[in-house]
């Protein structure tokens, strides 16, 4: 059986851009001033898009300046949890009421998170939190909502932190211990669920270990217990298998921490994360040569993310034509990006149901592998959900709060250009521009009056809808 060691889990529908990679210069810094197109690209990738004002502000910067701006994060202590959690705790609910109120609390947390993505001080911090949520997946535990919040806070704390430390922490995190059954993994009856996914999906990929490694790792992880009410985990030595284990060719009385350390010594581990980060930030299915370069950076920085992510976001390959619009917008990027683009500063009630219909229910990933991404986001069902979200938002009261939609010129061609530029940053096809123009000038097939003060609101909303229906808008 011929199979190259995989650098990411192959789900199908993940496509590499065409063209040639210049490996030698790929990670070298991109020196030119950004301009609006590259600024919008950076804001979409390192966050969830920008308002037209953000785009203009970043356009004047170099990549180095822009990335330095984006990497200023508020301290973990300064971030207050959503009020709903305290209220939930105060309520001391039991039985059915606890389930109901817990689910309500999870919804409040979803909205709180979406608002942080949209208008919080550090979109890159939220982008990395979302990355880890899809990478180290767990499902919400509504009856013990703090457990769900605490994992989210852990990811935010490590947003650009050390990958090895985060892997050790998340392995003992109550949400993870519950989701992948670590809490049921005891010496007398090992449960392999976490041990397997730790290697397959979180750190190494398939084909980089054997079945015996799974079983031995499970033994090393025995003993971690969860107190659901307190939302904490603790190691119980009496439930731990204290014997010798042989793992990835080494033998010793290993604990879970030892297992993580041994995994991170594998050359494949740096490759796995390098490919995963390139997939997240640059383009899908990155070339092995590029993966190897980023993996070397990860090793050189002892798995500290901050310098490596900075290198990626400042690199030539990141600003290359091959990377541009080379990813499919995830539903969260699509939804939050739309509010941003329209200059809105908080999400409305339409966001959460729309995200579910588009296939990205936060805190409820479809499987332990997270969201498959790429082409998998785009099915006829999810495309309909995307269009319906736009139609609903652009027809709603929420739009009254748009920072710019109400201030466009009354000339049809000027308004059409403004709409296209702010929404698509020059990525409109000639036919789309002509269509926008015709629509606003009243020259289309459906006889319409030209743009005027009387019809302004309704027609500009229609024009924004048209621009967002362009295929470019689905791409990140």
């Amino acid at each position: 059986m011929q199979m190259a060691a995989q650098t990411h889990t192959d789900v199908g529908g993940i496509l590499r851009p065409q063209g040639h990679l210049d490996v030698a210069t790929a990670l070298a810094p991109y020196e030119a001033a950004l301009g609006e197109r590259a600024a919008a690209h950076l804001l979409r990738r390192a966050g969830f898009g920008g308002t037209p004002d953000d785009v203009r502000r970043f356009a004047a910067m170099t990549a180095r300046e822009a990335v330095a701006q984006l990497m200023k994060f508020p301290s973990a202590q300064s971030i207050a949890p959503p009020q709903a959690l305290a209220d939930f705790e105060q309520g001391s609910y039991t039985g059915k009421a606890r389930g109901r109120e817990g689910r309500r609390t999870v919804v409040a947390m979803q909205e709180w998170w979406l608002d942080r993505m949209l208008s919080g001080p550090a979109p890159l911090q939220e982008k990395m939190t979302l990355y880890f949520h899809g990478h180290f997946t767990s499902r919400a535990t509504p009856r013990f909502a703090w457990i769900t919040y605490n994992q989210n806070a852990l990811f935010r704390r490590y947003a650009l932190g050390n990958l090895r430390e985060l892997t050790r922490e998340v392995s003992k995190d109550p949400a993870m211990l519950l989701y992948l059954n670590g809490a049921q993994n005891v010496a007398a009856h090992p449960n392999e669920n976490y041990a397997r996914e730790l290697m397959e999906l979180f750190t190494l990929g398939v084909d980089a270990y054997g079945e015996r490694d799974v079983r031995e790792s499970a033994r090393a992880w025995t003993g971690w217990q969860v107190n659901r009410r307190a939302g904490t985990s603790a190691f119980d030595a009496s439930l731990h298998d204290d014997g010798q284990k042989t793992f990835l060719g080494r033998t010793g009385n290993f604990t879970g921490d030892d297992i993580v350390n041994l995994i991170f010594e594998q050359p494949q581990c740096a490759r796995f994360f390098a490919a995963s980060l390139l997939n997240w930030f640059v383009y899908n299915d990155p070339e092995p040569e590029l993966v190897e370069r980023v993996a070397a950076q990860l090793r050189a920085h002892d798995f500290e993310l901050s310098p490596v992510v900075a290198t990626i976001l400042r690199s030539n390959v990141f600003y290359s034509e091959r990377a541009y619009r080379a990813l499919v917008k995830s539903p969260v990027e699509f939804v939050i990006g739309t509010y941003k683009t329209l200059g809105l500063s908080s999400v409305d009630a339409g966001a959460l149901p729309a995200l579910v219909q588009m296939g990205q229910h936060l805190f409820y990933p479809p499987s332990v592998a997270g969201w498959p991404g790429g082409q998998n986001w785009i099915t006829s069902g999810t495309m309909i959900a995307r269009q319906n979200f736009l139609t609903q938002l652009l027809g709603s009261q929420t739009l009254e709060n748009s920072s710019w939609l109400r201030g466009l010129p009354l000339s049809a061609s000027a308004a059409a250009n403004d709409v296209a530029q702010r929404i698509l940053q020059g990525d409109a096809a000639p036919a789309t521009l002509a269509q926008l123009n015709g629509y606003l000038a009243g020259a289309g097939t459906a006889a319409l009056a030209a743009l005027s003060t009387e019809n302004y609101d309704q027609r500009i909303r229609g024009a924004a809808n048209l621009a967002m229906a362009s295929p470019a808008y689905q791409l990140n």
Partner: protein, 406 residues
């Protein structure tokens, strides 16, 4: 019970079990199958029991003392098993499926798997969907079947996935399959103004863009198909009236929609449905019993509905799950990932009975049931004897056919 009585009974929502007894009298009378294999009258419904359905507690080896030794807390009590014979029986939650089995329209194939089993949900699901255990394939086996049998007249609904994400099994080179989570969600909102709808319908197909993207072609194609199929599907299936009361479960609703699509005769050859999660590392008895009961009841309603419309012989249902589970229970009243497990073929053309080999709980593969039937043999049988296509190209090799279909 006469046919009229039966309809009244279903209308009043009587238990599914009672009704299927009579409905399948027709099937037993050997109504001829519609058309030859590959006839457009024939449809395959593929049900993914995702998460890894524990085979031993689903099709229970109640005659094997080892089963009770290895699963002291988890085995299905002998008295609860719905026996097929002295050795094998159905999980007690599957009364409806058992009654269909007794009518001769259910084939149980035991010990299905593949060489070098993979214990990852992800990879093993991919293997079952792509039918490629020894290489990475981007298309599914049904996707390749669609491509291989491309008709002259394009049909938007040759395949339908009743799911939010398009499953890999239906990914193909040339055939776009709509993923329809529910009919009510599959329509473009009408409140966009007419002029922007017009403009939208004409435009955005211009490929002269100032960038290239590996995903652009896919986005454009799906956008166009979504628009057309969402306009057509609700209209095309609007005339259908179900003649069974489906359970209010996800699988119940999914199979109700499948029956509606089949009954509306859109030329659909394959429908994908999913049910789960069967990943029972903990508390297996409660979870799996509930899921198997939901599956069995939904299948009962589905074939009742199909039969009442004269469609039951047109529809072959095939189940699969990425793997069975470890023979020995774990310490959490559950089971870990395993290997071979049974699958079901139900309905049109099925020669009911037990196939494959009994699970050997002594000669195991590191505590897992060894496979004896290659899953591609099941696919080859379905492709050739039901869908009427040569299987070698689709499956990348020749596999023995099983005698499970007429």
């Amino acid at each position: 019970m006469k046919r009229k009585d039966f309809l009244i009974a279903t209308g009043s929502g009587l238990a599914v079990v009672a009704n299927t007894e009579h409905v399948f009298a027709r099937a037993l009378a050997q109504t001829p199958l519609p058309g030859l294999p590959g006839s457009s009258d024939r449809c395959l419904v593929l049900i993914n029991l995702f998460g890894g359905n524990d085979g031993l507690n689903c099709v229970v080896p109640h005659g094997d003392a080892r089963y009770y030794q290895l699963r002291p807390g988890l085995a299905i009590d002998r008295n609860d098993v719905l026996p097929i014979d002295a050795h094998t029986g159905f999980n007690s939650a599957m009364r409806t499926l058992k009654s269909l089995y007794d009518k001769g329209v259910v084939a149980v194939v035991q010990g299905v798997g593949y060489p070098n089993p993979d214990h990852s949900h992800f990879r093993s699901t991919e293997i079952w969907q792509t039918a490629a255990p020894d290489r990475y394939e981007h298309t599914g086996w049904l996707g390749r079947y669609f491509d291989d049998s491309s008709p002259n007249v394009p049909n938007l609904f040759r395949g339908v996935a009743i799911s939010r994400v398009l499953p890999e099994v239906m990914i193909s080179q040339r055939t776009d399959v709509p993923a329809v989570p529910a009919l009510g969600q599959y329509a473009l909102a009408a409140d966009r103004d007419a002029a922007s709808r017009d403009a939208f319908a004409q435009g955005s197909r211009d490929r002269r863009l100032p960038f290239s993207s590996p995903y652009l072609a896919h986005v454009m194609e799906v956008e166009g198909n979504a628009q057309r199929s969402s306009e057509e599907l609700p209209r095309l299936v609007a005339g259908y009236r179900p003649k069974a009361s489906y359970p209010a479960t996800v699988i119940g609703r999914s199979l109700a929609l499948a029956a509606q699509i089949i009954g509306s005769k859109l030329g659909t050859r394959a429908i994908y449905v999913e049910h789960g999660s069967f990943d029972t590392h903990v508390n297996q008895k409660v979870v799996q019993t509930r899921l198997l009961g939901q599956f069995s009841d939904a299948i009962g309603a589905f074939y009742q509905d199909l039969a009442a419309h004269g469609n039951d012989r047109r529809v072959l249902t095939l189940t699969f799950s990425e793997f069975g589970r470890r023979i020995e229970e774990n310490g959490s009243r559950g089971t870990d990932h395993g290997e071979a497990s049974p699958l079901f073929l139900i309905g049109g053309g099925v020669k009911g009975g037990l196939y494959g080999t009994l699970p050997d709980l002594a000669a195991t593969n590191m505590g897992n049931v060894r496979y004896s039937v290659d899953f591609r043999s099941v696919y080859a049988t379905v492709l050739e004897r039901w869908l009427g296509r040569p299987s070698t190209a689709v499956l990348g090799g020749a596999f023995a056919k099983l005698p499970v279909l007429v």
